[in-house]
């Protein structure tokens, strides 16, 4: 078994190494035709930029994406600087330099990778998937009999912030930085998923298609790990299947197929304010322009946020979304599961969490207010603050840095729900409903708690579950996403996720069950 696992690890690392090396490979040569087409399509009026590219880029061959990118971005930035100085606003190119560069690079690449897309897919994704499965599937035997087996998690460098954890952290953070800010460096990655994108939407793959594809793949492979680790626990198996289904079908397949039918790309489960650009004017315009179907999406988006979310939270707690449907939650529960114990449980972390997560919610609402005001009034600023500026700040700080780079990149250091816990505005909204008007709670079982602390340790949301359990108090915290792991790891059967009657849900107790009734009366009287 160990041998199979080592082989798997070897295959996986080989695939990963090839995947990383792709960044540094390939040849890029921009042809005159392609460039002219881009200039026409984008309506570029800057002759400075056009000349610059024509002299320095067109017809020259580059052997790595960095020098190619640097030529494009320098040309773009220097042209823009001149135009801005001369107030030639119609000539300024507003596309982000690296996105522009990505567009050019995507159609300029040639050579071995572009010619052998499927081969390189097999050498990267293929080896990665195969290796991971070789590593994971023997766990059916190596983990021992079904049951909670967290053996050695704190002895292992990957799951206890050891050197492997830090390596994974660096890899993930770099990946997100490239994905969000330097898409032109990862053109080769998008080539290898082109065939899949063509099959689904009829378009070549963008970096976002690549991300969606990778996301779904990683979730599927790591879901296999969840199925094996929690094979004794039906709640975990059903929940994993559910998040996997919603990711693959709702977040990945349906939006791509919509594009094939020339409908707007839309993820039907992505509720505002997590879907923070739902009310941005470009989105509203696009939806309205798409006729009846666009209007349906618009109405659905609003109904989902205003009606479905609170009603479902009332009956089932926020877990119906965070642990059964949400894509961020889905990645956290599959790829992130090995890191769940690393979340900070200190009081300080909790204090920070409440300020941050509610702050982001307020920020999202203010931004949406500004956006809608601008949309209907036509003004581009409110109280002297540009709506676009607010949107850009939010998109950069929250959408990219928090949700992506920190949210996932920090899994191996801060645990798997950093984003959900500290940043997600939808989680804050769901949490309010869960805390004040819901039938959900985690019931604690009388006096059976022995304060061992497994529940707190394995709470990905950093809730000190033990603090409640040892008091026999129901847990109704707004941050609880109902993953059910506290109940799974409890060696004494103390915790149970329940949707019961609202009455008696909040039960502050000073004396635990087991002591004589007189004493309980005495304390209850106070």
């Amino acid at each position: 078994m160990k041998q199979i696992q080592y082989i798997g690890l070897g295959l996986f690392l080989t695939g990963l190494a090839i995947f990383i090396s792709l960044i540094f490979l390939g040849r890029y040569e921009l042809s005159q035709d392609v460039f002219d087409e881009v200039v026409t399509n984008k309506g570029i009026k800057s002759e400075l930029f056009i000349n610059d590219i024509n002299t320095n880029l067109v017809g020259n061959e580059f052997t790595d994406p960095f020098s190619f990118s640097s030529k494009v971005t320098t040309a773009l930035e220097s042209a823009n600087t001149t135009h801005k100085e001369n107030s030639e606003w119609d000539k300024v190119i507003w596309t982000k330099p690296h996105s522009f560069s990505y567009e050019l690079a995507k159609s300029s690449g040639n050579g071995i990778i572009k010619d052998n897309k499927m081969l390189f897919w097999i050498l990267t994704f293929g080896l990665g998937i195969l290796g991971a499965l070789f590593f994971i599937i023997p766990q059916v035997v190596t983990l021992g009999r079904p049951g909670i087996k967290n053996n050695g998690i704190y002895h292992h460098a990957s799951t206890s912030r050891g050197w492997i954890g830090w390596f994974v952290f660096i890899f993930l953070v770099s990946f997100y930085v490239l994905l969000y800010f330097y898409p032109d460096f990862i053109v080769n990655w998008t080539y290898i998923v082109d065939p899949f994108s063509m099959a689904l939407s009829g378009n070549l793959a963008s970096q976002w298609f690549l991300y969606g594809f990778l996301y779904s793949t990683v979730m599927t492979v790591m879901a296999v790990r969840m199925y094996i680790k929690y094979r004794h626990n039906k709640y975990q198996i059903l929940r994993t299947t559910s998040v996997l289904f919603f990711q693959i079908v709702f977040a990945f397949l349906i939006p791509e197929i919509l594009v094939r039918f020339e409908k707007p790309w839309y993820d039907f489960k992505n509720a505002f304010p997590l879907d923070y650009d739902f009310f941005f004017s470009w989105n509203l315009n696009q939806l309205i322009e798409s006729g009846g179907f666009g209007l349906f999406i618009l109405v659905w988006g609003i109904v989902l946020t205003v009606v479905v979310v609170p009603v479902m939270v009332y009956f089932f707690g926020k877990r119906w979304y965070c642990s059964w449907v949400c894509g961020c939650g889905g990645l956290a529960e599959t790829l992130g599961d090995p890191y769940r114990q690393l979340s900070d449980k200190s009081l300080k972390a909790w204090q920070l969490e409440r300020w941050l997560v509610h702050g982001v919610l307020v920020f999202a609402l203010v931004m949406t207010g500004f956006t809608l005001y601008s949309y209907f009034s036509g003004a581009d600023a409110v109280l002297g603050i540009k709506t676009q500026t607010i949107q850009d700040i939010y998109g950069f700080l929250i959408g990219a840095i928090f949700a992506g780079v920190i949210g996932t990149g920090f899994y191996p250091i801060f645990g798997n729900r950093v984003w959900c816990r500290f940043g997600c505005p939808l989680a804050a909204y769901l949490g309010f409903v869960q805390r004040f008007k819901s039938r959900f709670r985690i019931t604690t079982n009388g006096g059976q708690c022995i304060s061992c602390g497994n529940c707190s340790t394995y709470c990905e949301q950093g809730i000190d579950v033990r603090a409640y359990a040892q008091k026999g108090e129901n847990i109704i915290r707004s941050s609880c996403v109902g993953c059910g792991i506290c109940a799974a790891v409890c060696p004494r059967g103390v915790l149970k996720l329940e949707n019961g009657p609202e009455n008696g849900r909040i039960n502050p107790t000073e004396i635990l069950l087991g002591n004589d009734v007189d004493l309980m009366d005495l304390l209850n009287q106070k």
């Binding site: 009999r145 603090a467 002591n515 007189d518 004493l519």
Partner: protein
């Protein structure tokens, strides 16, 4: 300001301190020689198994003590001078108290086996025991085999710990079946099978004769009493129960027997001195309970009660219905009320036993032969609701009532397979009854008293 000194920072002492702080403004000092901060002893095994770190086992963050003005003193008490109300520490320093709470816990039993003090021979109770285990059994290269002596809850936990690091374990159990002094036959046998399934070399009806030393004073092997067989090993776990840790009390004039003798108010024979938790011994047993109960939660309850007494609300220690829980490898166990093992089973106590074909779930319900009153339940592999059984015990419900309402009692996670129907079916078959299962009712489950 009165000064309450508590010896021992386990669950009993710390609970007492917390409740005294809730109820009063007294000066509180907790004395311990084990660790600086309170940690949960029950979680020691999970540190070794790598589920948690020592930090995770502390229920309160380190700032908690200063914030709540609970002073922590590290030191070992040598002697208690009850006339001058002074504690004498090993290092020569003194501490005055106005009220003293003895919460010193237990120590592992040793029965005078030859070699019981060798290196690598140890119990599993304190943080130091865990540190020792890390020295003598860090992995299966340094420790080729471990032998565990004594078939109780700590023994099986130690077996699981060593097993998690792939160290072969031989488990010597004096009884003919694991824990059958406490568990009824069917359950005890199921646990035997669970132990064996996990690859433990379980030796029933086996006693330790002698522990053999190598030339460096380390354990080399053990010899069995019955067969004279020699089993080579590097670690010997002594888990044949615990006894009160009261050596330092012996010359103080505080009345002791096996533990520190206390009345129902947890008072010793000396005014202003109380004893709680594992080290306390009731003059007379309470109900079916033993005079010394080395159970985690009773320590907690005694802490709650003694705090009331010290804060001028003199209260009797009245534990409610017996309950407990444990885990045997992957099988969780809970018990509510009394279900006796064969040896101690009274004549009027009848057992109903149900076992799932997968051999990891079973229950035994005890009831009164004539009155049909429900007496207790043992559940293995199925979680049950404490409130439910506490209520049916207080209301003296019948076995029929309990079975009919079994759906209310289930505490398993959602979507788990329910077994109530087959349980009742078996009972109806065995006893010619026609009990019908009632649908689970939130109204009954969460009824407010």
């Amino acid at each position: 300001m009165e000064h309450v000194v508590i010896i021992g920072n386990g669950i009993s002492g710390v609970t007492a301190a917390r409740h005294i702080r809730k109820l009063s403004d007294k000066k509180i000092t907790i004395v311990s020689a084990e660790t600086d901060h309170f940690f949960s002893r029950t979680a020691l095994m999970y540190i070794y198994m790598g589920h948690m770190t020592y930090e995770h086992t502390k229920p309160y963050e380190d700032w908690f003590w200063e914030k709540n003005r609970i002073e922590l003193k590290s030191g070992f008490v040598n002697q208690i001078d009850t006339s001058s109300k002074t504690l004498h520490f090993e290092k020569g320093d003194l501490l005055k108290y106005d009220q003293l709470i003895l919460a010193a816990g237990s120590k592992p039993n040793k029965f005078g086996w030859p070699g019981q003090d060798l290196n690598g021979v140890q119990g599993l109770y304190s943080k130091q025991d865990l540190d020792n285990l890390e020295v003598y059994a860090p992995d299966n290269k340094s420790c080729k085999r471990a032998v565990i002596v004594g078939g109780g809850l700590i023994g099986i936990e130690l077996a699981e710990m060593l097993h998690s690091r792939h160290i072969p374990v031989t488990f010597l159990v004096r009884e003919t079946s694991f824990w059958n002094g406490v568990l009824p036959e069917g359950e005890s046998e199921m646990v035997n099978r669970e132990i064996t399934r996990n690859g433990i070399d379980l030796r029933l009806a086996s006693n330790l004769k002698e522990i053999i030393s190598d030339e460096n004073g380390n354990v080399k092997s053990v010899i069995l009493e019955e067969t004279e067989e020699e089993i080579p090993c590097n670690v010997v776990g002594l888990t044949a129960g615990v006894s009160p840790n009261i050596n330092f009390i012996k010359d103080s004039g505080i009345a002791i027997n096996r533990g520190v003798l206390v009345n129902r108010f947890l008072e010793t024979n000396i005014p202003d001195i109380y004893a709680i938790g594992d080290c306390a011994e009731q003059h007379e047993a309470i109900g079916n309970r033993r005079p010394i109960e080395a159970v985690w939660y009773t320590g907690r309850m005694m802490g709650e009660v003694v705090a009331q007494t010290i804060c001028d609300n003199r209260l009797e220690y009245k534990p409610g219905h017996w309950f407990n829980s444990a885990k045997f490898f992957d099988i969780e166990y809970q018990t509510y009320g009394w279900v006796h093992g064969k040896k101690e089973q009274p004549d009027h106590e009848v057992h109903f036993h149900w076992k799932h074909p997968d051999d990891t779930k079973c229950i035994t319900i005890a009831f009164h032969k004539e009155s049909r009153q429900f007496l207790g339940i043992n559940n293995f592999g199925i979680r049950m609701r404490h409130e439910f059984f506490d209520r049916v015990l207080s209301e003296n419900r019948s076995i029929e009532y309990v079975l009919a309402h079994l759906a209310d009692a289930n505490f398993d996670p959602e979507f788990y397979k329910l077994h109530e129907k087959t349980i009742i079916q078996k009972f109806n078959n065995d006893h010619n009854t026609t009990i019908q299962l009632k649908k689970k009712s939130w109204k009954r489950i969460f009824q407010t008293s």
